[in-house]
């Protein structure tokens, strides 16, 4: 089992951080190794994808619609001052596709799904359900962790595409509050501003967001060690650490993209 650290004082906290980082690296390697092993837990993977992906659709959809609408309404006065209102759809869409859509969706996913993964796995650990699998010759890591990490990795990109599409609708409504622009014209204006290099890095980073959220929340839940109090701690730290990871990955991908283009 991973050493979760138990030190006090600033140097102790630092030691805990590096211990956690080391354990997390080993945990990630185990996930990859076991994901590549034969006999995947396909049905559990589908169930987790349904719970993490399909069940997130309403929340992601509502948030995305409001995001697209508000962004358009906020940008309109600035664009009007510059006499560039025709550029409004393109500007909003680029902002949504490149940055806002992936990051906001990943943060919503972290809040809704990472807390669930952390709480569920830690509760299973505390009530010895994970031990019950292990002692019966069932690999709990493969059944509980690998399926959840894969589901998160694949569901975040799907949710981001869905979120982007709904945001376009919100933005279209925002444009039409003061102007009368047809949907085909709106889309033409929007997609004229969108390039291949806007889409690829944005899509790649959504896989990384999902993978990081899955890994961090499962790690926090799987190795909880403080009884029932640990369930709350695992749920909370899963969201905090996953959200932070989303921003760090975003920063790194943006920097790498800048260097490569």
């Amino acid at each position: 089992m991973a050493d979760n650290g138990n030190h006090s004082g600033p140097s102790g906290k630092l030691a805990d951080f590096f211990t956690d980082l080391g354990n997390l690296t080993g945990f990630t390697a185990d996930v990859i190794r076991k994901a590549l092993k034969k006999k995947p837990e396909f049905i559990e993977f589908l169930r987790q994808s349904y719970l993490a992906g399909y069940r997130s659709l309403p929340l992601v959809g509502i948030t995305a619609f409001i995001m697209g609408l508000v962004l358009t309404l906020q940008m309109r006065p600035v664009m009007a001052d510059l006499g560039a209102e025709a550029w409004l759809p393109g500007m909003v869409i680029v902002a949504i596709v490149r940055e806002i859509g992936p990051v906001i969706t990943a943060l919503i996913f972290a809040g809704r799904v990472a807390s669930g993964f952390g709480a569920e796995l830690s509760s299973m650990r505390v009530t010895e359900q994970i031990d019950a699998m292990e002692v019966s010759g069932i690999d709990p890591f493969k059944y509980l962790v690998v399926t959840r990490v894969l589901a998160a990795t694949l569901m975040v990109p799907v949710l981001v595409i869905y979120s982007d599409a709904i945001s376009f609708l919100g933005s279209f409504l925002g444009v039409n509050i003061q102007d009368a622009v047809s949907f085909p014209l709106f889309l033409r204006n929007a997609f004229n501003s969108l390039h291949f290099y806007d889409i690829v890095p944005a899509t790649v980073k959504t896989f990384l967001f999902g993978f990081a959220i899955g890994i961090i929340s499962c790690y926090k839940g799987y190795y909880t060690n403080k009884g029932t109090a640990g369930v709350g701690i695992a749920a909370n730290s899963s969201v905090v650490a996953s959200s932070l990871a989303v921003f760090v990955i975003d920063l790194l991908v943006v920097q790498l993209t800048e260097l490569m283009l």
């Binding site: 299973m124 010895e128 359900q129 031990d131 019950a132 002692v135 019966s136 010759g137 069932i138």
Partner: protein, 248 residues
């Protein structure tokens, strides 16, 4: 499938385990013979549950030898260990039922991951047979949260039995139960042994359970065995630490 013949199906030699430098098990050695009900009696914190977890590979001991079915646990790779584990049933103190699954699904989950291929009809028949024997057939589609304490214990036992193990390890099987239910569980342990020809290691601090179920008893005190014998032998043992169990 014919069962192999062993002189001892569990053999533990000079086992040591500590947590953060604090010794929990010290020089533990014992054997379990086929068909035997071995009781490990000890107070809370004596190291009973840790010992069970070391036997099954849930915890790694600091040193010592664990031989199950003539196979040295430390020499087995992950896959072989998993195959061996399917020959052992473990009944947890808190039952450890999967709370997102119904009782039927709890048992099916283990059957579906067995190395033996069952037809859907065979699986249903086996689950229903075991639940019927344990008086849980009416609760087959209930969720663990809907079961009473005694039913949860029996459900935990049903799940341990579903793969027809040769050894069953019980971790405090009567803890938290009223005397009548506790007696019922003790009788069930004996009945299960008769029906399925299993061997058992039962760790408990409940003397009435120990008396009802034991062939042989070991007394664990501060991580070491201090006495061994039948219930009658130990009752007459003059050592104070042993007498304390009988007086209380």
């Amino acid at each position: 499938m014919e069962r192999e013949i062993f002189t001892s199906i569990i053999r533990v030699e000079h086992l040591y385990k500590s947590f953060n430098g604090e010794p929990v098990l010290q020089d533990i050695s014992f054997t379990l013979a086929p068909g035997e009900n071995l009781i490990i009696l000890g107070k809370s914190g004596a190291g009973k549950s840790v010992l069970l977890k070391c036997i099954t590979g849930l915890l790694e001991p600091d040193s010592g030898k664990r031989v199950l079915f003539n196979q040295l646990l430390d020499e087995l790779d992950e896959d072989s260990l998993n195959v061996l584990k399917k020959r052992i049933g473990f009944v947890f103190q808190g039952s450890a039922l999967y709370d997102s699954m119904s009782l039927r699904e709890n048992l099916m989950f283990h059957l579906n991951r067995s190395s033996i291929r069952f037809t859907a009809r065979d699986k249903d028949a086996r689950v229903e047979e075991i639940l019927d024997k344990l008086g849980l057939l009416n609760a087959i589609d209930k969720m663990p949260a809907e079961l009473s304490g005694g039913m949860r214990k029996r459900a935990g036992l049903a799940r341990a039995l579903v793969l027809r193990p040769e050894i069953i390890l019980y971790d405090e099987p009567t803890t938290g139960l009223d005397p009548a239910t506790s007696r019922e569980i003790s009788e069930l342990i004996l009945r299960i042994q008769r029906i399925y020809q299993t061997s058992s290691v039962i760790v408990t601090h409940d003397m009435s359970c120990a008396r009802a179920t034991s062939n042989r008893m070991l007394i664990l005190e501060k991580g070491s065995f201090i006495a061994e014998g039948t219930y009658a032998n130990l009752r007459d043992n003059p050592v104070k630490a042993v007498q304390d169990f009988f007086i209380n």
